[in-house]
Symmetry: C2
Subunit: 111 residues, 2 copies
């Protein structure tokens, strides 16, 4: 995460959410998708991303499968089946947290 170092700990959530919506993605693809969705404002650094992916894999949240595409290796990640509900819970909590934060900061939703 580059432009604004405000939020740490968000990266895991972003990864899980994207994998929930897109079945499977590889690292570079995730960086581009986040950049797109945020109008170029959220830039995930590679160091942070790959560490996070490895950690989530180690924790059993993700499984990986490497494939060769156009002569280059891609490592696709997807959610492990059992973690579906956990992702939902996480997203629920994160949403609640953002709302509480908006209340504290007095940032009305929609502004």
């Amino acid at each position: 995460m580059n432009v604004n170092p405000l939020l740490k700990g968000t990266l895991q959530t972003i990864i899980l959410k994207l994998l929930e919506d897109n079945t499977r993605m590889y690292g570079y693809e995730i960086t581009q998708k986040v950049k797109e969705d945020s109008a170029g404002e959220l830039l995930i650094t590679e160091g942070a991303l790959y560490s996070a992916l490895h950690k989530l894999e180690g924790d059993g949240m993700l499984k990986a499968k490497t494939e060769i595409v156009d002569g280059r290796a891609r490592k696709y990640y997807m959610l492990t089946p059992k973690e579906g509900k956990e992702v939902q819970t996480k997203l629920h909590e994160d949403r609640a947290f953002i709302i509480h934060l908006q209340n504290v900061l007095n940032l009305k939703p929609g502004l």
Copy 2:
């Protein structure tokens, strides 16, 4: 920050925003205010708070003044005058960041 370890780096922003709105506050008061505003969901730990206050003071963002109230020492903090605009900028960025995050997480504002 307790209940949800999602966001790190938010505490400084919270402190600055509260001091912008309330002229001056002391540490314990800040913990209670955040707890209130978040319906008991955001619990600032004392270790985090006092470290953050000391850092902001060291950076020249805040100035402190100790007073004795009811026999107990209170350390009131307030923004340094020159930092008014910086706080505005910070809050602006943070608001933008939250919105981008909502876009990436596909959490529609207001939900």
